[in-house]
């Protein structure tokens, strides 16, 4: 209403210009008479409400869907006629693959509630689910906040994204490649539009696209990461086994230019391992890429400290391979596939993140193909190590000649002796600890006794006697009259 009067306004009252919330700042017609700060708060409140409504709707839909699904399960009559037949297929699929899907039980997504969000009460581990839905909420809020700065186009973007996510929810049964295509098409369309809107300012388009990717992929993650329709999971397990079987590979075999004896270097190695493992916990492709980049930077640091010159690709790739072998990152293949399918393509082919990602792909490909030759080993040694018949762990040159000389000490035996020595030492130390504990105990007891004794002595010396309390000041104080008279209030004129 004030909007109207202002539009017409030749004469505008000062009070009308102020924010309607009365915060003292000037209001603006475009923000319904509010100042920018109050308007943002107001807007956010409305948004929040909308999001909650959406949620409620989604939950309702899900309940309906589940109800329908349950009735089908009960009837078991004509599953081919219903749109839920695919779920049924998945179910049976799941049963046959139970052996290989152990890890699925640990993942927050629950097969019985395949809706994109809100599995309250359904999911096996509610705490994890809640956490992830909190994350989803946070991302949505951030997204809305970000878009608010863009005003009208922001609303448009939000609408499109929501529509796209809803649309994708119906396409759950598509193959991974089709899903990827859908998402990539969406990226393409969105960035084309943004390009015209921002008049070719690529940097701003990318900034918006990053947010769009974050919002969309956080929501789609559960459905499109390692989907049932692919054999990503099988590949994950294969890679995991492969890396586990290669546990014996040493720095020397890969010619890794890293000296883990230097504390700073081993620190960087540990950080690199942590980063590459952390990748699995991220949901947004770009965040995953950032983990790889961080890991790579730590590797560069480690090489730099060891060699005291900038690391080249000849140093970097072997080290990355070594890190991957050491880390055995969870769901490595799924993560690589996920990034490849759903990341903005320009980030993968070019740019620093792209370079490190390519290196990671190379490292994984290398590990898959790795053979005796690539480790400078003989085929027999490689076989023996792979089958676990021998271990090159303690391959220090001073140990092997001993064995050749028939001293009868294999590296394994040496290690056993070392461990025994260590255990004996530990035993002695434990004895010392026990001894100390015992003496401490007796000390404590004697201390307690001495304290008790002292207290007793003092009590005896100064027996407790209760004296009658001193008499009150006013009642029978004999010297009362010697005190000056109390001050009397006086009245002064004026």
């Amino acid at each position: 209403m004030s909007q109207k009067s202002e539009r017409r306004g030749i004469h505008v009252d000062q009070s009308e210009l102020l924010c309607k919330k009365g915060c003292g700042y000037y209001g603006n017609a475009a923000w319904q008479g509010l100042c920018s700060k109050c308007w943002r708060e107001e807007y956010q409140r409305a948004r929040q409400k909308q999001i909650q409504e959406d949620w409620a709707l989604a939950e309702k839909l899900q309940r309906e869907e589940e109800a329908a699904y349950a009735s089908i399960q009960g009837a078991q009559s004509q599953p081919s006629l219903t749109p839920f037949s695919k779920f049924e297929e998945k179910k049976t699929n799941e049963k046959t693959r139970k052996v290989t899907t152990v890890k699925k039980f640990f993942s927050p997504s629950s097969r019985t509630a395949p809706k994109k969000e809100s599995h309250e009460g359904k999911a096996p581990s509610p705490s994890i689910t809640r956490q992830s839905s909190i994350e989803t909420d946070r991302v949505s809020r951030d997204f809305v906040d970000f878009l608010k700065n863009l005003q009208k186009p922001g609303r448009e973007i939000h609408k499109q994204c929501r529509a796209f996510i809803e649309n994708m929810a119906n396409k759950k049964d598509l193959g991974a490649d089709e899903l990827s295509e859908c998402v990539q098409d969406f990226y393409q369309n969105m960035s084309d539009r943004l390009m015209t809107h921002f008049k070719g300012s690529t940097e701003r388009v990318e900034r918006v696209m990053d947010q769009v990717e974050k919002y969309i992929m956080t929501r789609l993650y559960k459905n499109v990461f390692c989907p049932e329709t692919t054999d990503d999971e099988k590949k994950d397990l294969a890679t995991q086994h492969r890396i586990r079987a290669l546990h014996w590979v040493t720095i020397q075999m890969l010619c890794v230019p890293v000296d883990e004896e230097i504390p700073e270097v081993s620190d960087n190695v540990v950080k690199a391992i942590t980063d590459v493992i952390e990748m699995d916990s991220k949901r947004v492709p770009r965040d995953k890429l950032a983990c790889i980049t961080r890991c790579s930077k730590h590797i560069f640091n480690a090489i730099k400290i060891t060699k005291n010159e900038p690391a080249s690709a000849d140093d970097f790739l072997p080290t990355l391979i070594y890190i991957v072998l050491k880390a055995n990152p969870p769901r490595l293949q799924s993560n690589i596939q996920y990034i490849t399918r759903f990341c903005n393509p320009s980030r993968l082919m070019t740019g620093e993140d792209g370079y490190y990602f390519t290196n990671l792909c190379c490292a994984v490909a290398f590990i898959e193909k790795l053979d005796a030759q690539s480790l400078n080993l003989s085929a027999e040694d490689f076989e023996r190590y792979m089958s676990g018949q021998a271990s090159p762990r303690k391959q220090e040159p001073e140990v092997w000649p001993q064995e050749d000389a028939g001293a009868g000490r294999s590296p394994g035996l040496t290690q056993v002796y070392q461990s025994l020595d260590l255990l004996t030492g530990l035993g002695a130390r434990q004895d010392r600890v026990l001894e100390g504990a015992r003496s401490l105990e007796s000390d404590l007891i004697s201390w307690q006794e001495s304290v008790e004794r002292e207290v007793q002595e003092i009590l005896e010396k100064y027996p407790l006697e209760i004296r009658t309390p001193a008499s009150a000041i006013d009642s029978d104080n004999v010297e009362n009259d010697r005190l000056p008279p109390p001050l009397q209030p006086q009245v002064f004129a004026g």
């Binding site: 300012s201 690709a313 970097f316 070019t350």
Partner: protein, 224 residues
């Protein structure tokens, strides 16, 4: 109306975006056996010194901006591991590359043999004309112990329709010339074939904003 005004007041002025020269993002991959000086060459491209005294942590991925008269090229230089055991995974690196440098050491005959292998590998992947391929004989400063005659390298390149140059990463000889040649070639092929159109003016603002102050300083001193 309000939104429009807000947008233009946000961030940089639109002038900067429109006036800036066309900026292309160029992915350049370095191929070749280990020890032929790929990394030194990469460092040379980016800094005018043989061994970086600056605290560069790694030289596996480097960038350099090259200015031509009507456009600016941002080179992303991807170094690859040269050892033979990594040969099979290397195609992953040159996917989508605009330029590929096949480097050999003129004082080592076997590195030249390896270079020929790389070229064969590249041919399998690429339609000629789309990727600018350059055969580079490095370590030209070691011409006393030369094992690969200039003519041999030149003839190989000619037979395959590639660019050819001999450089020295140590002395810096011909390195800027090489980069400028590639820049021109890439630019040319980008306007002819679809080559670079995939990244139309990509990253234009990113660089202009981030490196604006240093842009002139970073440019190759060799005139175009």
């Amino acid at each position: 109306m309000m939104a429009e005004r807000r947008l233009s007041s946000l961030g940089e002025s639109p002038l900067e975006v429109e006036v800036g020269p066309r900026l292309l993002r160029v992915k350049m991959v370095l191929l070749g056996g280990s020890g032929v000086g790929k990394s030194s060459l990469a460092l040379r491209f980016c800094k005018d010194e043989f061994k970086a005294s600056t605290p560069t942590v790694g030289c596996a991925y480097l960038t350099q901006v090259v200015c031509l008269h009507d456009s600016t090229l941002r080179f992303e230089i991807w170094d690859t591991a040269g050892e033979e055991k990594y040969h099979s995974v290397t195609p992953l690196y040159y996917r989508g590359a605009h330029a590929a440098l096949v480097v050999y050491d003129i004082s080592k005959k076997e590195s030249f043999m390896r270079a020929q292998l790389w070229l064969k590998e590249l041919e399998k992947q690429y339609i000629p004309g789309e990727t600018v391929v350059v055969l580079v004989g490095n370590k030209a400063d070691l011409s006393d112990t030369r094992q690969v005659p200039l003519q041999v390298g030149y003839r190989l390149a000619e037979s395959k329709g590639l660019l050819f140059i001999e450089t020295s990463a140590k002395s810096g000889e011909q390195v800027s010339e090489l980069l400028m040649t590639i820049a021109h070639r890439v630019k040319q092929s980008s306007s002819e074939v679809r080559g670079l159109i995939e990244w139309p003016e990509a990253e234009c603002v990113g660089v202009l904003q981030g490196e604006r102050s240093s842009l002139l300083g970073a440019c190759c001193s060799v005139g175009s």
